[in-house]
Amino acid sequence: MSRVRLKLAAVFMAGVAAGLCTVAVPGGRDADAGRLQRVEDRQQIEELLAEYGATLDRHDFEAFGRLFTEDAVYGGGRGEPTRGRAAIQAALEKSIASNPAHLPAPDFHVFFNPSIRIEGDRATAQSKGAYAVPDARTPGGAQMMFFSVYDDVLVRRGGRWLFQQRTLHSTMPPAAQK
């Protein structure tokens, strides 16, 4: 082994050792912090999905509006999507107050099956929901209707997850029964 080779070998090994130290230790810490962040994000997004129903159910439309970004888009149904936080808040307030389906009170949202994919400060989610209403056919009974699929784009703004886009797709009952 030549002197040059010996030197090169020493330098190479030192480099490997140094590389291992710099990559493995802080990289591991950042990775752990990132994993924790994603778990926290998932919990916060699950609560956001629940808050959507909770605020509407208690007719707290201001709190409902705060779940959306200023430039949010709310779509689904037949018409054009509604654009902007204030417009979405007003549209839902009007829709619930006017009760176009003539649902008997009380009524509320239930949600299931959240599937959430997080990429940094942005996430997409798909979940299902239904509306619980009294059942006119059985006194005191309840029924579930308007089973929907929610397609969401969520963003982190000021440390909070918000809806940037929410699209509803009705599944049951078919549109003719609505």
Binding site: C21, E40, Q43, A50, G53, R58, P106
Partner: protein
């Protein structure tokens, strides 16, 4: 050693020392920033608090789901142990305080017949859980739909509403300190039963 020393002599001690020193310098350069960037006590405490909060949320979610599962499978002893020593249940059957009293109440109203998976009377659908943590206490709000079997042997919602919970960490486990079962369809406020004065409102949505 006998073979190393002549080899060092052959390559020259100067070069060997040079190589060792350069390796040491590189190692030091690589390691020292890591040591300097190690978490401070404050950073470590903040991280620990976040992990704790995440676990707390998960355990409370689990508690809320266990509540339904243990009732559905007639494990009333397990069910009653979800309540704190001073834990209260306030619902359609009335009010009971402490696991013993809650067990007695559920035995009375639900019965002590063993669970028969082939003849299920009904089950809880528990969703929309919202939790507010406050150290060793928490409040939670969640939805309940109780499904039953109808005459046509199909699952139908029999009633629905929400739970207002106050939770406490007791002996390292989250327990119900107070659970108010609020049925909305059909409406029934358990606090109106027997003309008891309404309890203080549970914070949170």
């Amino acid at each position: 050693m006998s073979s190393t020393i002549p080899r060092i002599r052959r390559f020259g001690l100067r070069h060997f020392i040079c190589a060792v020193l350069s390796a040491a310098a590189l190692l030091a350069a690589g390691v020292s920033p890591v040591a300097a960037a190690g978490p401070t006590q404050a950073e470590f405490d903040a991280l620990k608090a976040r992990v704790q909060e995440t676990q707390d949320r998960q355990e409370i979610q689990q508690l809320i789901v266990e509540y339904g599962h243990l009732l559905d499978t007639h494990d009333l002893v397990g069910y009653s142990n979800l309540f704190a020593r001073e834990g209260e249940w306030i619902g359609g059957f009335g009010t009971a305080k402490g696991p013993k009293a809650i067990l007695a109440m559920m035995n009375k109203y639900i019965g002590t017949s063993p669970f028969d998976p082939k003849n299920v009377k009904g089950f809880h659908l528990l969703t929309n859980i919202i939790i507010h943590l406050d150290g060793d206490r928490a409040t939670a709000w969640s939805r309940i739909i109780y499904m039953t079997r109808n005459q046509d042997n199909k699952p139908v919602p029999a009633m629905g509403g929400h739970y207002d919970d106050t939770l406490i960490r007791e002996d390292g486990h989250w327990k119900f300190l107070r659970r108010v079962v609020m049925m909305e369809i059909p409406f029934q406020d358990p606090r109106d039963i027997k003309g008891e004065p309404p309890p203080p409102p549970v914070s949170g949505p």
